[in-house]
Amino acid sequence: MNKNIVLCGVGGQGTVLASKLIAAAAMKKGLGVMSAETIGMAQRGGSVFGNVRIGSDLFSPMIGKGQADIIIGFECGETVRMLPYLKKGGYVVSSVRSIMPTTAALGDTGYSAQPMTEYLKNNVAEGRLSLVDTLEAEKELKSSKVMNLVLLGAAVRTGVTGLSEDDIISALPDAVKPEFIELNTKAFFFTK
């Protein structure tokens, strides 16, 4: 069975590294991988996504609506935006953090995390949602740069990606500079 993984967030949050790691881990196991991501203007703070597909009979790198086995959301509003891509009974791992775009800061409508996380709780099947307190993780890890690994760790532990913790850890050296492996490993196990 093919695995479809959707990553989403805001430009600059490190979704690209997370999809690279998933792909590298799957390749090491001899699985076929295709992926796609946002490159270009939207990387400047716009909504960005990554699609990763693992399996043997893949043609398109893109994931259609209702096809994702799991959504890994780096910003809770962006997670909500991508929900139509989730399969029935699919998993959602999302940061509780919201990032206010300047358009919202300028107006008076406001934008905050709480209604988004509420919506996720009401719309993702029982036991399939994991909300990750990335603010807490940032404080504890003293870095804001490794939230991708924190979320990836939580995603892998749902079991739905078909990849194990060891698969990801052994792929780390391919994607991360040696001096950052320790921090990234710590981040990966943060929610354990």
Partner: protein, 609 residues
């Protein structure tokens, strides 16, 4: 052979290197940029690479190298080909000696472009063969094969992937280094009858090209890259597709029972079109659907096929309104087109679960926190407040200066037009203060001629050069002003100030835009002078420098006037439960907001008492 997980653009680079490319040139542009970057990274000993000053220069340099027998790769995005169209149109009449592959990346959507133009149309306009890959794997193989093909038929070849191929990744089989072709250019042998274009030569070669393309249509009809699969026994229908739409189509057909499957025609060579093959595809079909992005190229060719061979097959697609005319074909679009055409309901209709969701914020791209362009725009805005002005914008990150609250881009057309559009407005409305904004890379690519035009034709304008010492939008490529090349050589910088003075701009000032007061003064000074004036706002791109310490807002001093947000719109500034806050992970301490806050509430952390 071995397996690698590659981005489409990296796969293309690897295919070209494996084919023994001798020279690669190009100009950055999303989604094509990584092709040349990866070629440079992989570059075997003796291979020459360059970021040319623009696409026209890139193609001409490659043409010269090809005359000397070299295999050449030229890279650009679709609009870059407009710039390179002058040499392109004539090069086909001259032909090539060493293989020339022109990589032109199209951008359906568009995602990062001004137009949705289709390079396949350029291929038929310029009479060049065109390869259109539908996967990363195919992009790799086509890049490899195109050089030999180019030499065999003496013509440049256009390789035309789209964004979803360029920026997709796949694990694919690639050649080991020991399997690479080694290619030795023969050298340039003088032959003015061959390399100097004259009307008589054009006439002769025009006829030859038309004949050759007829022959290529047959060759492509038997090319295994154009695939014709027969229909299931219940189907009288067919679907033709090219590019990523073919990949989506193959996903959609997985759910359809074999007996109901339509015949499928995959077009990998949209020009010259393989007519004998398309005739075979259409002959026994009642109706065919065409899935492609941008222009209805395949669709037009199938209509032509119907006319040529007196077929009564109905052709559906963009012309009939069955397929979207603009924008990219998402995989969901293709699923719904296919199920509607075949008359089979999809197993599961994608549900729109979002109808009851809390309203999601729009999230347009913005200038980064601490971007010096924000300061430059703001300085001009403040200096010119209350005056009748026009601000010509150009192509680069700084196009984003149009967003609220800066709202400092009144026009944006194409590379270089930020300088010339205000000239036109100024001639019609002489009481308007005209400003043209241009980035450093764009200045070299196509800004200089516009400035010469202004000086020569006595325009009244201020040119603002936003010099952040890189080509930021496309991922930080070097250019003539940076002092280093793609080969890694350190070279003499081409000095923007000297260029401006050299072409006759007498008032030129270089200022740090983050020094707000001085920047505003400089703008006022330039504006008060006659003729063509220039200000170079020089400050490095924030993505290239070490992040400075974030600033903090003193809650006791902040009166929540929101002036900081409303004046400059830095994405690090936001509102949290009514309080104004700075996101420490985004702020890079540029201190622009500090200079705007009326109460002195924003300060470096250490300065808070």
């Amino acid at each position: 052979m071995h397996k690698e997980f590659l981005m489409g653009n990296a796969a293309i680079a690897m295919g070209a290197v494996a084919a023994g490319v001798d020279l690669a040139s190009g100009y950055p542009g999303t989604p094509s940029t990584e092709v040349l970057e990866n070629t440079a990274k992989l570059r075997p000993e003796g291979v020459y690479v360059e970021w040319s000053v623009n696409e026209k220069a890139a193609l001409e340099v490659a043409a010269g190298a090809s005359y000397a027998g070299a295999r050449c790769l030229v890279t650009m995005k679709q609009m870059g080909l407009n710039v390179a169209s002058d040499p392109l149109m004539t090069l086909e009449y001259i032909g090539v000696k060493g293989g020339v592959v022109i990589l032109v990346a199209d951008d359906p959507g568009p995602i990062s472009s001004q137009t949705e133009q289709d390079t396949r149309r350029y291929a038929s306009f310029s009479k060049l063969p065109c390869f259109d890959p539908s996967s990363v794997k195919e992009a790799y193989e086509m890049a490899f094969e195109a050089f030999e093909f180019s030499e065999k038929y003496g013509t440049p070849v256009i390789l035309r992937p789209t964004t979803r191929i360029c920026h997709a990744y796949a694990s694919i089989d690639v050649r080991d280094e020991s399997e690479y072709v080694t290619h030795k250019p023969e050298g340039f042998i003088k032959d003015s009858k061959r390399f100097v274009i004259f009307p008589r030569l054009s006439f002769k070669n025009h006829g030859n090209i038309v004949k050759r393309n007829d022959e290529l249509s047959e060759v492509f009809s038997n090319d295994p890259r154009n695939i014709l699969t027969p229909p299931g026994k219940n189907s009288k229908k067919g679907i033709a597709a090219g590019g990523i739409s073919y990949a989506h189509l193959m996903e959609a057909l997985k759910d359809i029972p074999d007996d109901d499957k339509p015949s499928v025609l995959k077009i990998s060579t949209p020009h010259p079109f393989p007519y004998s093959l398309s005739e075979r595809f259409m002959r026994d079909r009642d109706e065919v659907l065409v899935l492609e992005e941008l222009e209805p190229v395949i669709e037009d060719e199938l209509l032509k096929t119907a006319g040529k061979y007196y077929l009564s097959t109905k052709v559906s697609g963009k012309h009939t309104g069955d397929v979207r005319a603009a924008g990219e074909n998402s995989i969901d679009d293709v699923f719904s087109y296919v199920s509607k055409f075949i008359g089979i309901k999809p197993l599961e209709e994608p549900s729109d679960v979002l109808s009851d969701a809390p309203s999601l914020p729009v999230r347009p791209p913005v200038l980064c926190a601490g971007c010096p362009h924000r300061a430059s725009f703001y300085a001009v805005k403040r200096a010119m407040k209350g005056k009748k002005t026009v601000f010509g914008g150009d192509i680069g990150c700084y196009t984003l200066g149009n967003a609220m609250p800066l709202d400092m881009v009144d026009s944006c057309l194409c590379m270089g037009a930020g300088i010339t559009i205000p000239q036109g407005i100024g001639h019609i409305e002489p009481d308007t203060r005209c400003f043209g904004f241009v980035g450093d890379s764009t200045f070299f690519a196509s800004g200089i001629t516009g400035i010469v035009n202004a000086v020569y034709n006595q325009s009244e304008m201020t040119v603002i050069i936003l010099d952040n010492s890189t080509t930021a939008m496309t991922g930080h490529q070097p250019h003539p002003g940076t002092g280093h090349t793609l080969m890694g050589d350190v070279v003499e910088k081409v000095d923007i100030e000297k260029v401006l003075r050299g072409v006759g701009v007498t008032h030129v000032e270089t200022v740090d835009p983050l020094d707000l007061d001085k920047a505003i003064e400089a703008v006022k000074r330039a504006d008060s002078k006659k003729g063509v004036k220039a200000i170079i706002f020089r400050s490095p791109c924030v993505a290239l420098i070490r992040k400075g310490r974030a600033l903090k807002i003193d809650e006791n001093k902040c009166i929540r006037c929101k002036k900081c947000i409303k004046e400059i719109g830095c994405p690090a500034l936001s509102v949290e439960d009514g309080r104004i806050v700075i996101d420490g992970s985004l702020c890079n301490g540029c201190s622009l907001c500090e200079r705007i806050c009326p109460t002195g509430a924003i300060k470096k952390e250490a300065d808070h008492e």
